[in-house]
Structure formats: C-alpha cells, structure tokens
C-alpha cells in the first residue's frame, strides 16, 4: 500500500496507521516543513509578476490533478478537459451576471455542473475504450464551447463576461498575495483529496480498471460505476478549477478555452509522468512556465525585438518538440527522472535495487 520509495535500512512500520500515513519518515517531515516555509515566504519576496506566475501554476495544478486521476489512474482518456474548465468558468459567469450570485453559491454549483457534465462525458466510456472514448470527449468539448459562445453572443457579452472578485462582507479578494494563498490552499486541498481518494477503495478500483478491465470485472469490481465515478469526480474538480480561474482573471470568454488548452493539460500529465500525483504537479509547473522560459531565452539573443513577432510560433513549435521528446525518450516523464535521481542517491554506492518489483 505504501509507496515504493527506496529507504535507508532500519525503517520499520509497526502499525497500520503508520503504514497508511502520507508522511512517513522524519526526513520526509523535515523536507515538507522546509517546503511549506518556502511556499509561505515566497509571496513576500517575489514581484507581482512572479506571484501571478505562481497563481497560474496553482490553477493549472488543480486541473492537472483532476486529469491525472481520470487518465493516469483510472485509465480513461479525455481530450475534452478544457471543456470542463470552460463549463466551470461559464457557470460562474452566468450565475454572476444573471443572478449576482456570491462565490459561496457559485463554487458548489460549478462543482455540481461539472459533476453532471462528467456523467455525460462518462457515459460513452461504458461502451467505448481508448481512442473512441478520447474522440467522444473531444466532441463534447466542441459542444460545450459552442454553447458558451452562443450564450456570449445572444446575451450581448461580445467581449467577455466580467466577474467581480469574490467578497466576504466588505473584504474583496483583489490583492495578489491574498490570491496566492487562496489558490495555494485550493491546490493543497485538491492534492489531499486526490491522495486520499487513491488510498481508498475507489482508488484501488481505478487502478485495477486501468491495469486490466476484464479481470477487474471478473474480480467483482463494478467497472461501470467506478468509471463513471472517475469522470464525475475529475470533472467536478476541473469545474472548480475553471470557477477559480474565472474569479482570478475577473472575466470569462470563450476564446480562453481553446483546444490547445486541452492539449496543454494532456501534456502536463505526460511530461509530468502518468500515474503519479507528483507528476501532475511537476507537469503543471513545467507547462505553465515553459512559454516564459522560451521568451526569456529568446530575449537574450542579439537583436531580440525583431524576433518578438515569431515568439508564438517558436513557443508552439518548441512545445510540440518537447512533448515529442518526452513521449519518445522518457515515457515516465519528469517523475521518472526524479525517481531515478532519488534511487541514485539513496542506493549509492550500490546501483540496483535489491528486490525486484516496484517501478523501473
């Protein structure tokens, strides 16, 4: 049940609680503490620009975690993730414009809308697998975006729906640092929910379905029910991510949810490493920061201003290239690289793990 991280000798687990615990060794506890302190101190050192980047990473992380649950663990491919995020954002936009609904109402409704859509997205999964499922999710994405666009045009919001920041009494959430902590909390909460889900019966059922669906059915796992639950939970989370996105940006518009966004989320879980929550986080970090990295590199070249026009094309091309490189050369993604590094340091001076089994 526990993760197969190589550990130094002398570590024993003597109770079930210890076995199940998320943080197990003293080293892990200290590492986590340092990390939390770093995260808490960051907003006081960083400029507004880097705060915005961090917030974007947190938002992407929520979406990536939900997709990782669906595709990485339950094995159901979804190319329509951007549609679910759009659905959450539009729910917030519509409720705010039509009914002036406050955020503590719109967020749960967005989750509910996401869950319902997840049910609809998930129904084809009962009959179809693999590519056919991916295609049906793609079709549903187009339909969601179409409906959103129709709403925008028919209700007169040509340039997008403006949304006010969420308010509690007189305090409106506008400050960049405040948003940082809110989104950090959201990402952490999502991570905890995902980790706990995966440790539970549902998570085990998903892993079984991904490994071999027919055998899972034969073992008595209700495959149809668990597949649908994967879609419902993942979609609800993605919708909440979309709702947060709407509040953070302050507006909703259908152009922000292009097919490329779906591709980016898929890239996050591939580059991060399928079947690992850490992979989702690393992937979200990488894919969000990637365009800024490319821009920084390009701007250091001589005669930078004349390249400014080609930035988008270079961005696109290098993104495709990086995705291809990961798929061909490192299918286990960033997590694979990370684990190999971990193995190296823990096992040194030995090269190989003593017991067969676990990850490559």
């Amino acid at each position: 049940m526990s993760r197969n991280t190589p550990r130094a000798s002398g570590y024993f687990r003597t109770s079930y609680a210890q076995d199940f615990a998320l943080i197990q060794t003293r080293f892990e506890r200290t590492a986590l503490a340092v990390f939390v302190i770093a995260l808490a101190v960051f907003p006081f050192l960083a400029t507004v620009f880097y705060l915005d980047l961090a917030c974007q990473v947190f938002l992407a992380a929520v979406g990536a975690l939900s997709l990782m649950l669906l595709t990485g663990y339950a094995g159901q491919i979804s190319l329509g993730h951007a549609g679910l995020i759009a659905a959450g954002a539009f729910t917030v936009g519509i409720l705010f414009r039509e009914f002036a609904a406050p955020f503590w109402l719109t967020l749960p409704v967005a989750a509910a809308v996401g869950a319902i859509l997840g049910l609809i997205f998930g129904l084809p999964s009962l009959r179809l697998r693999g590519l056919y499922l991916a295609i049906s999710t793609l079709a549903l994405y187009f339909i969601v975006v179409y409906v959103g666009g129709e709403y925008e045009s028919t209700r007169g919001f040509s340039t997008g729906i403006m949304v006010d920041p969420p308010k509690i009494g007189a305090f409106a959430l506008k400050n960049a640092r405040a948003w940082y902590f809110v989104l950090l909390a959201a990402a952490a909460a999502t991570l905890l929910i995902c980790a706990n889900l995966l440790r539970s019966r549902t998570g085990r059922a998903w892993r079984a379905i991904r490994a071999h669906e027919i055998v899972a059915e034969a073992l008595g796992i209700g495959v149809a029910g668990y597949k649908l639950s994967a879609f419902v939970i993942s979609s609800a989370m993605a919708s909440v991510a979309g709702a947060l996105f709407a509040y953070y940006r302050g507006f909703v518009s259908v152009e922000a949810f292009s097919l490329f966004l779906s591709i980016q989320y898929i890239a996050m879980i591939i580059i991060g490493g399928m079947g690992s929550l850490l992979g989702a986080l690393l992937g979200a970090l990488f894919v969000t920061l990637f365009p800024y990295l490319i821009e920084a590199v390009l701007m250091k070249l001589p005669n930078a201003q004349s390249y400014a026009g080609a930035l988008f094309a270079v961005d696109y091309a290098s993104f495709g290239l990086v995705m291809i490189l990961f798929l061909v050369l490192e299918p286990l993604g960033l997590v694979g690289i990370w684990r190999r590094l971990q193995n190296y340091f823990v096992l040194w001076p030995f090269k190989y793990r003593p017991v067969a089994g676990g990850r490559k």
């Binding site: 009959r127 056919y132 091309a317 495709g320 995705m323 291809i324």
Partner: protein, 290 residues
C-alpha cells in the same frame, strides 16, 4: 441544384481528407491527429514551389505533390517508427504533439499572412455552369475529380497491387504479416506517405480554390468525424461518411441555422458513437482491440 453541387463539393473535400485518416489507421492502428496540419503543409509546399517554378504551374504542382509524399515518409521514418509497438495512446499523443510542432514551424516559416497560390501560379478560377443551373468553380470541380481519382486508385491499389495487399495484411494481423516476410516498417512508411499525399492534395486544391490561411488545419479536425462515422478502417465507409456529414452540414446551413455548421460534424459523431461506434463499415472487433 446548387445545393446538391455544394454538398458534393464539401463531401469531396471531407472524403479526400478522411481517406488519409483511414489509410494510416487501417494499416497501423494509429490515429493521426496531425493530419490537419499535414494537409495545411501541402498548401504551403505549393506556395513554396510556386515561387520556385513561377512560370510553370504544372511543374509547381508536381513538385509539391512529390515533396508531400517525401514528407509523409520522413514523418514515419524519423518519428513514428520509434512509437511502433508502443501503446496506441502514446502514438496518438505523439501525433498530437507533431501537429503542434508542425503548426509552429509553418507559422515561423511563412507567417500568418494569407497566401494565394492561384495568383502566384497565374491560374484563374472561373465558375463553370452545370446543366440544371448550378455553378461550381474550376478548382472545386478539380477537388471532386481528384477525390474520385484518389479513391479509385486506392481501391485498385489495395485490392490488386502487391504493396497494397501487403498493407492490408499488415493491417489485419501485423505479427503474421511480419512472419511471412512483409517488411512492416516499409509498409507503414508507405501508408504514411500515401496518407500525407492525399491530404496534401486536398490542402493544395483548397488553397488554390479559396486561399490559404494559417488556421486551415481545423478543417482536418472537422473531417475526422467523417472517418469515424464510416468506420475508421474502411475507405468505402469514409466516402459514405463524407456524404452524410456534408449533407447534414449544408442542409443545416440552409434550413436550420448556419452557426450549427461548425458543430454538426461533432453532433453526427456523437450520434454515431452512441448508436454504432464501429462505424458503418468498420470491423466490430476494433472496439475491443483498443
């Protein structure tokens, strides 16, 4: 009458693009989601050869056609060969990434400006008047004929040609085909080359007919439901699927709501997936194989 002409033209466009999807899927079970970008690349290759052979339209077109065949084979040899034998999903995602890469490269090389290869080649596009009162532009008629020719040639090739038979064998059971001495890599490369060829011809003809924009690859995505509705491994299905989707799209423009034309292919797709996922003429086992 004009309505029928419009449906035939649109169906030909979709069918010509869809046969590329079907070819690769049938032979190697890979879904090539970069087909839209490869189709657009054909248009840009024509722009390039038009500037090289500016006096000679036939030479330019011939050169572009040959180049697109080479590009298709190269894509397989350099990239997709490494994914042969891997999980199907990984191969499909590789094609998605390839599409993104190609789009970026095309933007980098040719910028987002609209191109008019017909102007560059000094070819004109007059409207032909058909018996019955309908009108069709010259290049649209060319698309219809090119589509018919392509399908006819592919049928004959797959049925009777030596390599065609090998392709069908590799598609039915790669393991046995390889054991019988069929060079799978060569067969796959040929499939990719032919698929890119037909896609590029579609792209070139569309570019000649109405100009080349940098977002033409989306048309490739709209043609994908066509392949699915007919059955991803059936050429005849692709032809029929094209007819159905094109008719649905044009009739909805004419009688229901022009805006739906964007979504109609995907609505048809969903209906097909719910009712008959393996398509009109596809093999049913496909569902479990993936």
């Amino acid at each position: 009458m004009q309505l029928i002409v419009n449906i035939v033209v649109l169906a030909s466009i979709y069918a010509l693009i869809a046969c590329g999807y079907v070819l690769i899927y049938r032979v190697s079970r890979v879904l090539n989601l970069a087909h839209g970008e490869l189709m657009m690349l054909g248009g840009y290759l024509l722009v390039m050869t038009a500037s090289m052979f500016s006096g000679n339209p036939l030479a330019a077109i011939a050169a572009a056609v040959v180049l697109s065949l080479v590009v298709g084979v190269l894509v397989y040899v350099l990239l997709m060969r490494k994914m042969a034998g891997e999980m199907v999903l990984a191969a499909v995602l590789t094609t998605v990434a390839l599409g993104v890469l190609l789009r970026g490269l095309m933007l980098l090389i040719w910028s987002a400006q609209q191109q008019y290869p017909a102007e560059a080649l000094a070819l004109s596009n007059p409207a032909l008047i058909l018996p019955g009162g309908g009108r069709i532009s010259t290049f649209a008629a060319a698309i219809v004929f090119a589509n018919a020719f392509a399908y006819g040639a592919l049928f004959l090739f797959l049925q009777f040609g030596r390599w065609g038979v090998r392709m069908r064998a590799a598609g039915q059971n790669p393991l046995f085909a390889a054991q019988r001495g069929i060079n799978l890599h060569a067969v796959y490369a040929l499939a990719w080359g032919l698929s890119t060829l037909t896609g590029s011809i579609a792209g070139m003809l569309i570019a000649l007919d109405s100009g080349l924009t940098s977002s033409m690859s989306v048309i490739g995505l709209k043609a994908f439901p066509v392949a699915l509705v007919g059955g991803l491994d059936s050429l005849l299905g692709a032809l029929l699927g094209a007819g159905i989707v094109a008719a649905a799209e044009i009739l909805s423009i004419q009688y229901i709501d022009p805006l739906l034309s964007d979504v109609v292919p995907f609505l048809v797709l969903i209906v097909a997936l719910v009712v008959r996922p393996w398509g009109l003429f596809g093999t049913r086992e496909e569902l479990d194989r993936v």
